[in-house]
Structure formats: C-alpha cells, structure tokens
C-alpha cells in the first residue's frame, strides 16, 4: 500500500520521541532553575482576545493568526508570553504585594516570511519579574538567565546588553528633528547602517552629530565601550553600568555591551538583552525591561523578563557538541 502523506503547515513540526527526550532534558533543567529561583510556573490560553493583547505595543511581533469564535469575537494565537502574563498580573493579582515572579514553558505563534525555514510555532521558556525596578530586578533576571543556560550545559554563550532608551535619547540630545526619528529607528532596527547613514546625510546636523548617530550604535564589546561613550549617552550608560555592577562575576564575564541593541518587540523601555552562541547564527533568546506595559493593563508596575527559544537552544547545544560554528576569539 502506498504511504499517505498528509502535510502540516510550513514552519510547524511533529516532534518524535528521540527529539522529545532531548528537549525534555532541556526543559526539565530550565524549570528546576526557574523554580529554585522562586519563579512559579503558569499556563495561559494559547487563544486570547485580540482586543486584550492589542493593548500592548508588540510592533513586529504582534499576533499573526486570527480566528472567530462562535459569538463572532476575534481571537488570536498569542505571539509571546510576556503580554499574557501582564494580563494575568493585572487581572488575577490586582492587590498582591510585589515583586511577583512567574515562569513559563509554552508555545507561541509568529507570522513568518515564506520559505525562510522560520518557525510559526515556537516553544519558549522564560521568566517575568514584576514589581522589581532597575537595576536590581534586571540583574536578578540576568543571573537566572545565566543559571538556566549553565544548567542545560551551554558553554560558550554570551549576553549582549543594551538599553532601549539609548538611541531615542541620543537623537533627542543631538537635535534630530522629531519627524525624522522614527524612520531612523526603523533603519537601526533593521541593522541597515548604510541606510541609516544615508538618512543622516540628508538631515541638517553638524558633522560630529551625524558621525555619532551612525557610529555609537555600532559600538559593542567590553565595558570600556561604555566609558568611551559615557559623555554622549550618559543616562543609558549609567543604567547599563548600574546593572553590570550588581551582576555576580560569572554573569558579568558573559556580558558584551551593545549600544545599538534594538529588539523587534515594541514594549521595551530600558535594559534589553540577547543571548548569542557561536554555534548558532541567530540569537537564542532575549528580553528586557518593560516598565510601561503593566500600566496598560491597569497595574502600573515596572517589570523585566526574558524568553529563550527552546528549539534554538537545542540546536546550539547540538552544535557545541559537534564543535561546529565559529570559535570565540
């Protein structure tokens, strides 16, 4: 009898026992670290009301899949867990004394460009720390992040640390006209430094300002990049240094400062970070501070969190094991 092949949507996968065992080892290790750091695990529905999730500014990561329920309401498949947890905090913990700590292992759904082998459904593991302001809350979450990556056995990873307020305040400080700012930010978020340079060349700015606006977001590396940039990005540099100083030595040793770090999700307000490993060509995960998001759901608390892509983490572990990928200098 001929085999019947029944397709599944591109960007989705069946996970069979061999892979499931390996993924389970990763998620078990992550869960142990999260729980021992007192982050309580939550489940929320994969389907939410579109109008509820739309209170958050998700920018490019906004939910992409919509369905209608029997009453005609528009439901979406969640695209991350941060926004649902913000909803949970406001709705279910309206008076609880902060800080609140939550963790999750859950599937999220993203719209993807066709034929790029990107997943529509991704398993995310992460934590949210609500009611703990910068820099202490940020440092706590970064320490949990590194403990989690250590527990799964990832060896060569580094954490890129930046600040979402850096470039906007640099533009303000150097007198970039208000109407030009958002398009400069788009070029930066696309990491199109050539386009950024072209746009800056068309603006009436001093050559020094123009050079700074192009060059500062390309600065990254050891703490000395912070010192060198402190005069022009004083607030962001001070924020980053304050976090850095609270980190345990083994976490601090993983940090790369990145003055141009921009995440594609719109709700970040302060520190942002990403996880890199030489065995994988794209970030394994990331996160940051979202101090305005909870307020949109009615409980105005500062918050910070991260999400790791479990499949990407698995691929990176596999790559490290095989010794592929670029070696660290």
């Amino acid at each position: 009898m001929a085999t019947m092949i029944h397709p599944i949507p591109s960007g989705t996968r069946d996970v069979l026992p061999d892979e499931t065992r390996e993924v389970r080892a990763i998620t078990d290790a992550l869960r142990r670290v999260f729980e021992s750091a007192r982050f309580g695990e939550v489940y929320t529905p994969a389907l939410e009301y579109e109008s509820v999730l739309a209170r958050a500014d998700m920018a490019e990561a906004a939910p992409a899949y919509r369905v209608f329920d029997e009453a005609g309401a528009t439901l979406v498949l969640r695209s991350d867990m941060t926004v649902p947890i913000a909803r949970v905090v406001a709705t279910r913990y309206p008076t609880a004394e902060p800080p609140l700590r939550f963790c999750y292992l859950a599937h999220c759904y993203r719209g993807v460009p066709p034929q790029r082998a990107q997943p529509r459904e991704l398993l995310q593991a992460g934590v949210e720390l609500v009611g703990a302001p910068a820099p202490g809350g940020t440092a706590e979450v970064l320490a949990v992040l590194c403990a989690a990556l250590d527990a799964v056995g990832l060896a060569a990873y580094r954490i890129g640390l930046g600040d979402a307020s850096l470039y906007p305040s640099l533009m303000r400080g150097l007198g970039v006209p208000r109407e030009a700012r958002s398009s400069l930010l788009v070029a930066l978020a696309r990491r199109d430094f050539v386009g950024l340079g072209e746009q800056l060349a068309a603006l009436e700015l001093s050559p020094e300002s123009r050079a700074l606006l192009l060059e500062v977001p390309q600065r990254r590396g050891a703490p000395d990049v912070l010192e060198a940039s402190a005069p022009v990005v004083a607030d962001a540099a001070a924020n980053m240094r304050a976090v850095y100083e609270l980190l345990p030595a083994e976490v601090a040793a993983r940090v790369i400062f990145d003055l141009g770090l921009v995440r594609s999700i719109g709700y970040y307000t302060g520190a942002v970070f990403e996880v890199y490993d030489p065995a994988l060509g794209s970030p394994i995960g990331g996160g940051g501070r979202y101090d305005d998001l909870l307020g949109r759901y009615g409980r105005d608390l500062p918050a910070v969190g991260f999400a790791l892509g479990v499949e990407r983490l698995h691929v990176a572990l596999f790559g490290e094991e095989r010794g592929t990928g670029a070696s660290l200098p």
Binding site: E60, A189, R190, G221, D277, P278, G281, P283, A326
Partner: protein
Amino acid sequence: MTPLDGLTIAVPRGALFDPTVRLLADLGLDTSELRANDRKLLFEEIGVITMRPSDVPTYVQSGAADIGITGKDVLLEQASGRPGERGGGVYELLDLDYGACTMVLASKRGPDPAREALRRLGVMRVATKYPRIAATHFEQTGRQAEIVEVKGSVELAPLTGMVEAIVDLTATGTTLREHDLVVREEIVRCTARLIANPVAHKLRAGAIDGLLERLRAV
C-alpha cells in the same frame, strides 16, 4: 594576523566577482587560487566561499559565513522595504560603492503602453525577476500592477505583448536599448554592500570592526 582575521566571507560570483576579488587582494588576501579556479566553491585556507549573489544573505544569515558581499538589489528583494517588515536577518554595514546599477521601470519606445494600460484598464502587467521590489514600488506609488515573475530574459516579456512593462536592473542601459525599451522610472540605485551575521557581529566584533576600518581606507 591573516587579512580577514579568521572571518569567513561569502563572495558573489557573477558581475560583482572581479571587483570583490580586487578588493580582497587590496586587503592583502592571497586571491590567486580564487582567480584561477572558477569551479571551486570553498577556499577554506583563505576563508572564502563563493556562490551566486542571491545566496549570499542566506549563508550569512545562517552563520555559515560571518560576513558577505552582495548587491543592494538582492537585499531589497529578500527583505523589501515595507514598513513593519523585518529585515533580512543580516546587518548591512558598508556601501562598497562598486557594481552600481539601477532598478528601473521600462517599457517599449513610443507612447508608454504601461501608462495607457493603467489609464484604460486600471492595472498594468509588469514582468520582473524582482517581484517584491516591484510590488513595493507600485504599492508606494499607489498604482495597481499585476506582477509576472520570470526567471530568464525579462526583455522578452513586453516584446511579446505578455506585459506592458518590466522592472529590471540595468547598469549601462545597453540591453534595454537593444530591445527597444526605454526607462520610464528609476526605482532605486543599487551598489555592492558588506553584510554581517548578527551573532558574528557581536562575538567577532574586533575582527569585523578592523575589517571595516581597512575597507574604508582602501
């Protein structure tokens, strides 16, 4: 220290190949085998891999190459400039200023058949190898166009009456002239660009910044 400092670079075959090899030679890379052997793809000892230009972003995005050189047309086609759309997952670091050509809208000489179709039929048919760039251009200029994707010589499409216009890349305009086509609009000027993998950009920051500095100096 080796010229590329241990970085792997994706080099485009085709029109951009010769100027790219000259650039690499200027940086001090031993390019003799690269010039001599046009069948070989992988030159591990000098950190070079060669491929068609449209594959360069793919290899760089995946991390198989740390950096690469390709045309802006390729980058635009893989991540068109629509607002809200993600970039191609690579960093665009430097305009290398060679391989200059222009993406144009062209149609047959004489009264513009594309304009006529748009006026009378409300839509024009446009053949191209760059469907995303073309679609974005018509969207941004508020015109309806039916995009017909072709893989081979685009000039054939308007001559046979299949379409009223083409969107294509031209350097000198010779091919267009030979087929009795004239440029109606210039869409975007494209040159060679240096791109980088986002993770390599962080983890190999010193090597990449060093290379950028030397590229700006040559």
